[in-house]
Symmetry: C2
Subunit: 762 residues, 2 copies
């Protein structure tokens, strides 16, 4: 039970933290980091966990070519690729770092001179409303983005509040100005992805409407309200679909000019303005999951005025307050940039999915009210259970509790009776494997960060984990493993189910439900069932009990695995590393396996089919760009060779992260890659969320001060820190030398100081 | 201002009236009347003004053949044609008597034996879930419909509450039973009319979902909740569209069997039951304009149990209470059947469009709450302003006020700032011409039946009447007529705008807004601008002021007119008949014109292009099946020859209405045709709604007692009534012989007795 006073304190926390912040941390954040190649981040404006992500689109590729999926579109998951030379517009929703996509809603683009209602092409942006741009004119800061649109010499600036995207366009001389509102555009624009769009011109400064799509989210609707700082003089639209089949008596109107009701599948609208040189037209676009009226209420509540600079300052103050929760001193500017850019990326997803009046659309496609919590969406759980949610348990505990309450609401609305797998915008897209909501929930319960009904949450975990129709789970329950001939990626699934089951067991134990503990502890042993003692690898088994042949341990396309090969996935028993090591031949042999992982040289052909990582995301056969290996470097701790953990971690930190557009070695995956950076740079990592322990690694910061929500401070200090001094001679917690290779959650949350003594010697 | 006590009394009124009713009036109603040819009524179950109209579908025709509109589908506006031999299922929404269509939502069909998920064909119903049936097994009563489905020997029975359709299916021996839920089916099923459908199997007796369409209503969504009296044993579905483009990780489920989340454009689902001989499976389907949750609330509130017979009785009691508001004695059973069938048809549309919790979807596609009124939809105003709404001002005044409040809410939500033209389900389809909401509002204001803000309503009328972009209205405002070369049907529009303007003037006068009165009184004279003194007809004029050539006064396709030719439309100045008659050459010449209308013999070729009337709907050149002539027979009163009104009215009553499926001479048009019958059979008619006068005609009833909501009773008695005694020798109101050819609204509402003395002599 949380008291009203506590709630007030929590509400004030950003302010309190901000008051303590003297440094401007936003200066170190480079939102462009990860926008080149496979980072899949976006450079635009958003506030922490904001519902609006207002960012430029450079995409030019059709989703299909001759009826076939065009795999090149994969790079446009966040709508923007650094090497592109043109921008087609600015849209209001983006995932950060995902490996598949959706969104890109409500495209706005300014135009001067002759109206062009087609988007144009990358080769000839001048033939449409698309424009060329130069990176030299581009400015990307937390909560602010600016670029010069070369074609028509328009300056575009973007900022945001939680639910409102705020645009400021400065027009050149010449009195013909236009704002394009393209409802057709979308990221991953499948043919017929648009189900319906609807626009109402309420008056000469207000437009409302919605976009309904069938994409990664099967049934998704985004409502919006859009206001202009200056009345438009006229407007119109084009419907580029045959879908609007019945026109009939609508012909009594001139529907193409100043017609305020636009509805159809493929609509592009324009609004004309008369402007003078350097005149600014400002636009605010609020989103809502529920209704146009709610969008308007969001707009009026969050942005009552037209002061762009004040909203920008507010957004940056918010970022500074969040970033200031971790105050670090580093050995170089680049590291500081790495750190705060990573922290920035961890504070983007999940996103608020609720109006200012607490209403949101549920998984059942009905509207609901979030009673006593903020509803979030965008749960990329296969990625984020590993380090992002554990990070939140430390630095965003209040939000993490609300995220779990959002998951439980999702469960209540699920006719599958399942917690979210990969959910966004009132949908589950079921992406990837496992049921890792249970890890997030167990981690919070174990770490005493649960203000929800933990027993009810445990019931939801159990129901989820016993859905026989889900992804081979029936076989797993009956046979102790998923047979590859019945259900693919069977090794990955068996291993991850076993880990998730261990999480359920831990939570049950803490809640005193020993029958559940016993059942799921037994299931947590199922990793043994896919271990092939002959080859020494986790290996796919068939329905008849035999191991599948042939077997290639390096092949990343090998049946039995997903986003990883046998070499990597064989290390995935995070909840029982000691047993795993014993099973796999003991510490010596296991350490050799680990070594080989980092040192083996693979030919390029191995990466031909992996679309979500680049060569950069790989060290030997260690794939940091995919998540299943994220705990691997820390496993050396269990082999009696912690110095190997320390050197590997420092190597990965250095090799996989650097400032600049190409600074990420793979998809950021809604902050998981960045959360790995934060933990590892601080010197510890949650190998098995659901445990209260963090394995010690090697910090890369000189000092870090964590301002905790409970008012306490946890400080990390790395004495004698340098690029070469990657080895930890000793770790001292509150003056006491640690005789173990981990610290616990409560040790962090109690406040105190952890001092690492660094050295260049093992 | 209405007091709380008055509200309670109003709420109790149906009960009070019912208490006075001893006769069972439902026995005279033949819901099958009008189901043959062009009546466009439906035979299924509904309650008065019910939101659910649960009725069989016999339609077999595609909307398009080779990409072209198949004009034969026109006869299926209500889904059912009497000559058909098969039923494809039962759907929950139907218009009554419209000349265009939509709806036909949520088709349910029982099946025994082998599951067939395709609808089959009329020729071979046995190849699908469609079934043959015989009219001998059919029973259609108010609130109840029954039929034997021959193919599988299943008895189907239907009843309803306001928001719930209640099905009862009796299965034969053999334990395989199925219920088909076809979300693809719809009336006027344009290709791609379905925008999206969504189904959730909540548990083994509850399914919820919605159907979203783009039809006559451009953007329309119907939510539903469906419960079964017995758990289904298994279920599945087919998606017959390529629209569901992203499947991806959904493949981890077996989506075809017992998969509870179905979404796509074209879905047909089935539910399997194990039944024994004569076992009944009952289904309740509640609709909502807002959400699945609201549908479920409607279901639980209106039909908490499973007693089909009790719900049927309740529906029939409701009908009896409504029908009993007019208690008539007639000279024949057929006339009584005509009368109550007509009264039944007047009490179907408009329909309630609001959940039990008062929420509804507005024209803006957002949800709203009706504060203090019942929200209605389905306003076929070009038809119903003439007699249906005036009839409501007498016998359903409370509902009529709520209908007007519904129109005003529509206005508030309209970005066109217009009152409804032809609105249904949160849409305006803009069908037909004029802005006849103003007539309905003015009529209520003039007749003191306005509990809304009349001045605000007048403002809405003025704004509507000055929308320059609407259907030639800008020209009309500037030039005093619509020029045919600028906007078609120009004569019809000019005449109807002029009448509507007169309505606005009358209302303004009553409200003391004399500037408005002056302006609109002037506009009301605009009928003069399309009168061609040379030919003596209302005739299309061009932008240059000249009359259009050539000019064919009989051609029903003649430019300048809609649903009427020059001969008929030239008589349309209902607000100024005396002036019109003078303008057209005086009483003598005008009476001759009227005579010719009824006596001229037209060749069949004249009707080749009129799809909404049959030869039966016509007397000479008088077209009763279309509305513009509905007041015409009463115009003889103004020529000094009231006996001609009397004989024409009696002739029309006799010729155009009779019991049985082919009993209507044209579309019933949401009750307008039937309202004409009710008024005329009572002996009076509202020639110009907006006036408080009713022209006297010739009653066909022997006596009629009107139980008014104010507690008073108005009785009509026709002494010496017979088929031949069609002439009124004198009319005596409350003992005083009338020296005029009209009675006033307040005379009716004050209660009393109107005695007609009938004779066979003129």
């Amino acid at each position: 039970m949380i008291t009203r006073l506590q709630l007030i304190i929590l509400a004030l926390l950003p302010t309190l933290v901000q008051a303590q912040t003297t440094e401007n941390y936003t200066q170190y954040v480079q939102p462009l980091t990860g926008t080149q190649r496979m980072g899949h981040t976006y450079p635009g404006a958003t506030v922490p966990f904001g519902a609006v992500q207002l960012s430029p689109e450079t995409d030019t590729l059709p989703y299909e070519v001759n009826g076939k999926y065009n795999k090149d579109v994969y790079k446009y998951c966040a709508g923007y690729q650094y090497e592109d030379k043109t921008i087609v517009g600015f849209t209001h929703t983006h995932f950060s770092g995902t490996g598949h996509s959706d969104l890109g809603d409500i495209l706005i683009m300014p135009e001067a001179g002759k109206l062009q209602l087609n988007p144009g092409t990358a080769d000839h942006p001048e033939n449409g409303y698309r424009s060329a741009f130069l990176h030299t004119t581009e400015k990307a800061e937390p909560g602010y983005y600016k670029v010069q649109l070369t074609d028509d010499n328009i300056t575009a600036e973007l900022t945001a509040t939680t639910r409102v995207g705020f645009h400021r366009y400065t027009f050149p001389a010449g009195n013909e100005a236009h704002i394009i509102l393209d409802m057709m555009y979308g990221i991953y624009n499948y043919p017929d992805k648009n189900v319906w769009t609807f626009l109402r011109v309420v008056n000469d400064t207000l437009v409302t409407g919605y976009r309904q799509t069938n994409g990664w989210a099967r049934t998704r609707t985004v409502y919006f309200a859009m206001t202009f700082s200056k009345p438009f003089t006229s407007y119109g639209y084009e419907n580029n679909s045959k879908k609007e089949v019945y026109r009939g008596f609508w012909r009594k109107f001139d529907q193409l000019h100043n017609f305020p009701e636009m509805a159809g599948q493929q609509i592009r609208a324009y609004f004309n303005f008369s402007t003078s040189a350097n005149e600014q037209v400002k636009i605010k676009v609020a989103l809502s999951p529920v209704s146009q009226e709610n969008a308007l209420q969001n707009l009026r509540t969050e942005t009552p005025g037209w002061d762009f600079d004040a909203v920008k300052k507010q957004a940056q103050d918010q970022w500074n307050a969040e970033l200031g929760k971790m105050q670090v001193i580093t050995t170089s500017l680049a590291e500081k940039q790495n750190f705060y850019t990573a922290l920035y990326h961890t504070f983007i997803n999940p996103t608020v999915y609720m109006d200012v009046n607490n209403s949101y659309r549920g998984l059942d496609q009905d509207n609901h009210t979030a009673a006593g919590f903020t509803n979030y969406t965008t749960f990329s759980l296969w990625d984020t259970y590993r380090a992002l949610h554990p990070l939140f348990n430390i630095i965003q505990p209040h939000r993490n509790r609300d995220m779990i309450r959002s998951m439980l609401a999702h469960y209540d609305q699920s006719v599958q009776h399942m917690l979210p797998v990969w959910s966004h915008y009132a949908n589950d897209n079921w992406c990837m494997i496992g049921y890792h909501s249970v890890s997030v929930i167990a981690d919070a319960v174990i770490k005493d960060n649960a203000d929800f009904d933990a027993n009810k949450a445990l019931d939801a975990c159990i129901t989820t984990a016993t859905h026989r129709g889900y992804d081979g789970l029936g076989y797993y329950m009956d046979m102790g493993y998923v047979p590859e001939d019945k259900n693919g990626a069977s090794v990955s699934k068996t291993l991850e189910y076993a880990y998730d089951d261990w999480c359920i067991a831990q939570m049950a134990k803490k809640l005193g439900r020993m029958d559940v503990y016993t059942t799921f502890s037994k299931r947590a042993e199922n990793y043994r069932n896919v271990y092939d003692a002959v080859t020494g690898y986790m290996r796919p088994r068939l329905n008849d009990g035999s191991f599948r042949k042939p077997f290639d341990v390096l092949n990343t396309d090998e049946p039995g695995y997903i986003e990883g090969n046998a070499w990597n996935y064989s290390l995935y028993v995070p909840h029982a590393p000691d047993t795993m090591i014993a099973m796999m031949g003991g510490k010596q042999r296991f350490a050799a396996h680990l070594d080989s992982l980092f040192t083996i040289q693979l030919p390029d052909s191995f990466f031909a089919h992996t679309e979500d990582i680049t060569r950069d995301g790989i060290i030997g056969n260690y794939v940091h760009g995919n998540e299943p290996s994220h705990h691997v470097a820390y496993l050396y701790n269990y082999t009696g060779k912690p110095w190997k953990t320390q050197e590997r971690v420092r190597m990965i930190l250095k090799k996989m992260y650097h400032p600049g557009p190409d600074g990420l070695g793979g998809n950021d995956d809604c902050g998981q890659m960045s959360a790995w950076y934060i933990f590892s740079s601080l010197g510890f990592y949650p190998v098995a969320p659901g445990s209260d322990q963090y394995e010690l690694g090697s910090p890369s910061v000189k000092t870090a001060t964590l301002q905790l929500e409970n008012g306490k401070t946890f400080t990390i200090e790395a004495k004698n820190q340098s690029d070469k001094n990657v080895y930890v001679q000793k770790a001292v917690l509150n003056g006491k030398t640690l005789d173990r290779l981990y610290i616990t959650h409560s040790e962090i949350m109690s406040g105190g100081t952890l001092v690492f003594y660094m050295s260049g010697k093992k």
